[in-house]
Amino acid sequence: MSATPVSATLQQQWGEVCLALHEALEAGDHERFLAAVDALTGMRERGLWDSLRQLDERLRAALDQFSLDPRLLRLAGKEIPDARARLDHVLRLTDEAAHRTMDLVEGSTPLVARTAAAAATLAAECREARESGAASPYWQELLERLESHFAAAHADGETVKRNLVEVLMAQGYQDLSGQIIRKVIELVAQLEGELARLVQDSKRGASENCQAPPAAEDLSRGFGPAIPGISVSTVEGQQDVDELLALGVAMKGAS
């Protein structure tokens, strides 16, 4: 049976060293055997080094191409810092809008409270006057209408007061969205740093500096608001929180 080209190559490359190994083994020559093993591993490592050298060349070529791409330079130098500035601006705008809303809520609440309280007093006075029976039928009827008007005004005022509290609470969105935007700004800043380094490295033609990866988020720092579909192992609501809190207190007591 004739050898295929592949097995011929194998034979050519490894045949001699295998034969030496085999002969040393047969002869029980320890020294010669170890020398053959050294020769074998030496041949293997040369292959590895060749592969590494090729990889390095490919990496350099890729980095050179990066630096040639003007779009990347524009991204690193202008567009990403711009993106950060835009997000900062969004934060400022939502902050101003929330405070403006709260200015108006704080300005309106005492007014509606005063009006509602006055309406309640007047409704009571109308009823007293009506029930005293001293008024003429015309006034009796008018007092009745005034009383129901003031009672309704009082109830409406109370509803508006409650709604204003809800409007105030709704401004909490600025805190929550702001926290999420701050996380994105941090991420964009990191991206900007990495890109700048990449551009610099490719200019130098070698990437010698190996930066430590950014520190992982840790529990003590906090993770920011839970985001549906992204955050894992988060609570479902206040009920969940209360149960976990009780659990933590129990664990603390036990330790």
Partner: protein
């Protein structure tokens, strides 16, 4: 008399501090001061007489959990009621806060009613 209680509200977002301050005013607590993170809050707590601490978790400088631990390890402040008011929602965090000695934990977004309930609970004299 309980309406004289002095509150310190710690949050890095002025919007949230203002919301909490308003809610406390609605509940009849007029004595409310603010700080924007643990680093500014701690010296205030150590030098001024506060009765209740309401703090966010995620803040630049010193986060709320570290502030809580600092409060618990200061003999003068160790017994102060602390309510955490935060968007931090990981299960481990809540357990961690409880172990660090938090008295209440309210998750954002919250309602005025939940805040009032939790406050009432932590302010009730220990039975």
């Amino acid at each position: 008399m309980k309406k004289d209680l002095r509150f310190l509200v710690v949050d890095d977002f002025s919007t949230m501090r203002r919301i909490v301050k308003n809610l406390l005013h609605d509940l009849g607590y007029a004595n409310v001061q603010e700080a924007d993170d643990g680093k500014t809050a701690l010296p205030m707590l150590q030098t001024e007489p506060f009765d209740v601490l309401i703090t966010d978790w995620n803040m630049p400088g010193m986060p709320g959990l570290d502030l809580l631990k600092a409060v618990r390890s200061d003999p003068k402040l160790a017994k102060m009621p602390v309510l955490m008011l935060t968007a931090e929602a990981k299960r481990d965090q809540i357990v961690e806060a409880a172990k660090a000695g938090v008295n209440g934990y309210v998750i954002k977004p919250f309602t005025a009613q939940v805040l009032a309930e939790k406050l009432e609970k932590i302010l009730a004299p220990a039975a």
